[in-house]
């Protein structure tokens, strides 16, 4: 699914190398998501990675530094202060027209504080965009929701929109 254009705006999915490195550095993430190391997936991710020019790398580092400084100066405002890696990912949007997809609410908060909230989506927003662009079908959306619910990993933001954004799949919210 990486590197394929979808939707009117021709979005393309990519995984930044820094995210890849983060997973490999964490035994817990590696353990929880063993499929991430599947050679087929690794090859696909590596072949679709974005190549950055020297000047772009320099701008990303500058932007990352500004984000990170803002985070540490305002640490009390975050439940989880966005990490240097989070700041790098957000900074990527300063050199390429990019949308960051994350369910980390602190990342959304940081983006909002810089007026960049439109550049950060929740995972369910991506799912919705892919569905309306006919890049995925209803069954896959349903399967993803089921898997997340079964693992106890369904983010609150996903739960909140289950019966609104995906009403055609899951129906309206049942009254309790």
């Amino acid at each position: 699914m990486l590197g394929v254009k979808f939707g009117q705006k021709e979005y393309v999915l990519t995984i930044l190398k820094i995210t890849e490195d983060e997973v490999y550095r964490s035994p817990r993430l590696k353990h929880n998501y063993p499929w991430f190391s599947n050679p087929e997936h690794v090859e696909e991710r590596l072949s679709k990675q974005v190549k950055l020019k020297k000047d772009e790398k320099a701008i990303i580092e500058i932007a990352k530094g500004v984000f990170r400084q803002h985070v540490v100066e305002n640490a009390a405002n975050y439940k989880t202060p966005p990490s240097p890696v989070d700041c790098y990912i957000l900074a990527f949007g300063q050199v390429r027209p990019a949308i960051v997809v994350t369910d980390d609410l602190s990342m959304h908060q940081l983006a909002k504080e810089f007026g960049l909230d439109k550049q950060v989506w929740h995972g369910h927003e991506l799912l919705h965009k892919m569905l309306s662009g006919k890049y995925i079908d209803k069954q896959l959306v349903s399967d993803i929701y089921d898997a997340l619910e079964n693992n106890g990993d369904l983010p609150k933001s996903w739960r909140n929109v289950k019966h609104t954004a995906f009403k055609k799949i899951f129906g309206p919210q049942k009254e309790t």
Binding site: A58, I62, A63, G65, V66, H70, T80, P81
Partner: protein, 374 residues
């Protein structure tokens, strides 16, 4: 935290780009008056404008912004042997310091009356006086063996929070990290328990010296004093004199090493500390020095390293989060985890915070958070 745009850096960057302030204002999306105000030190850009300013001018935050230093953390490291301190180490420690600021309100009330060494000096006699008075405060005589447990109480009495950590015996840059928050008047001292016991005591004494001399924090003079103080506190003049008297009767270097090792073992300190203190004693009393030299001492020292503090405290390793936290609270009398728990309960602080301030893996941070909440 008061911040100002570094007008000189901004002007240089404009010249380099051939831009006027009006052009810059246009790029950033603000009025020319705003840029003029920033240059004159009146007002500070909002986050979005600051980001645009930095990326447009290709200036890092540190180049573009001047921050009043009293609100910034002061950091110092007790490095591992040949480890080199880089800007990245300092930056990371400063960030941890900034992240610790929100924890401070959750710490129990600090002692307002603190011990200060008002004229810290590495002069032998002045140092011995400071050491003698410190030992007296701790309730031990000049010849007595000083245990690190006796030092621990001094930290909390003097506004310093000990944070024992398990950062590994190899690969990590520092064995102790000292972060002073001047505005909050609190010092956090991270001590790596994966350290040989004989070195650990020296670092604890070294850190205590920093606590007694806050005005020297982050300065070379402060490091020199802390090293001199630590050695003298662990093996003061009267101990050095006893050792010297014995050593002076020996004819060979091997016999000297045996005596130095015996003293090191008795005091649970490194051979090098005993050697250095005896040498200082001889130098300051005009006596001839020993036959043995520093190179030989280091060879012997490397051969007879003792167990790690973590091995002595936790058996088996690694400890569970519960054991680790209980140890920090009971052995090191640390209020760190008490404050962390309060912060988690009252603010909903998540594992990512613990991961960043304690430099843990996310797995350990999650386990520790769960334990603090249990």
């Amino acid at each position: 935290m008061r911040k100002f745009i570094n007008a000189d850096a901004l002007q240089r960057a404009l010249e380099q780009k051939g831009w006027t302030q009006a052009k810059l204002a246009d790029e950033v999306g603000v009025s020319s008056q705003s840029v003029t105000n920033w240059v004159q030190g009146e007002g500070f850009p909002r986050p979005a404008a600051l980001l645009k300013l930095a990326t447009s001018l290709r200036l890092s935050f540190d180049e573009l912004v001047n921050t009043e230093t009293q609100s910034l953390p002061i950091v110092a490291f007790r490095k591992k042997g040949s480890a080199k301190t880089t800007d990245a180490h300092i930056k990371k420690a400063c960030e941890i310091g900034m992240l610790l600021k929100p924890l401070v309100p959750f710490l129990p009330e600090m002692h307002a009356l603190r011990t200060l060494i008002t004229s810290p000096s590495t002069d032998y006699n002045k140092l011995q006086l400071a050491v003698s008075q410190t030992r007296s405060r701790l309730g031990i005589g000049d010849n007595a063996v000083l245990h690190y447990e006796q030092l621990i109480g001094e930290f909390s009495e003097n506004g310093a929070i000990l944070v024992p950590v398990l950062w590994g015996a190899k690969g990590n840059h520092e064995n102790a990290m000292h972060i002073r928050l001047p505005e909050e008047d609190v010092t956090f001292i991270f001590v790596n328990l994966d350290t040989h016991a004989e070195d650990f005591k020296f670092w604890m004494a070294h850190e205590l010296a920093h606590v007694f001399t806050p005005e020297l924090a982050g300065k070379t003079k402060g490091e020199d004093f802390a090293d001199a103080f630590a050695g003298a506190l662990l093996f003061p003049q009267s101990c050095a004199e006893l050792a010297y008297t014995e050593l002076s009767r020996k004819r060979t270097t091997n016999a000297e090493i045996d005596i130095l090792r015996r003293y090191a073992h008795t005091h649970s300190i490194s051979l090098n500390t005993v050697f250095q203190q005896v040498r200082e004693f001889a130098k300051n009393t005009g006596l001839p020095f020993l036959k043995i030299d520093e190179t030989a001492i280091h060879k012997v020292r490397n051969k007879f390293s003792g167990p790690l503090v973590s091995e002595a405290l936790f058996d088996p390793l690694p400890p569970t989060p519960k054991q680790y936290i209980a140890n920090a609270e009971n052995v090191f009398r640390s209020d760190f985890f008490f404050a962390l728990k309060q912060m988690i309960v009252k603010r909903g602080t998540e594992a990512g915070y613990l991961q960043q301030v304690l430099d843990l893996s996310i797995g350990d941070a999650i386990a520790m958070r769960e334990d603090l909440l249990s």
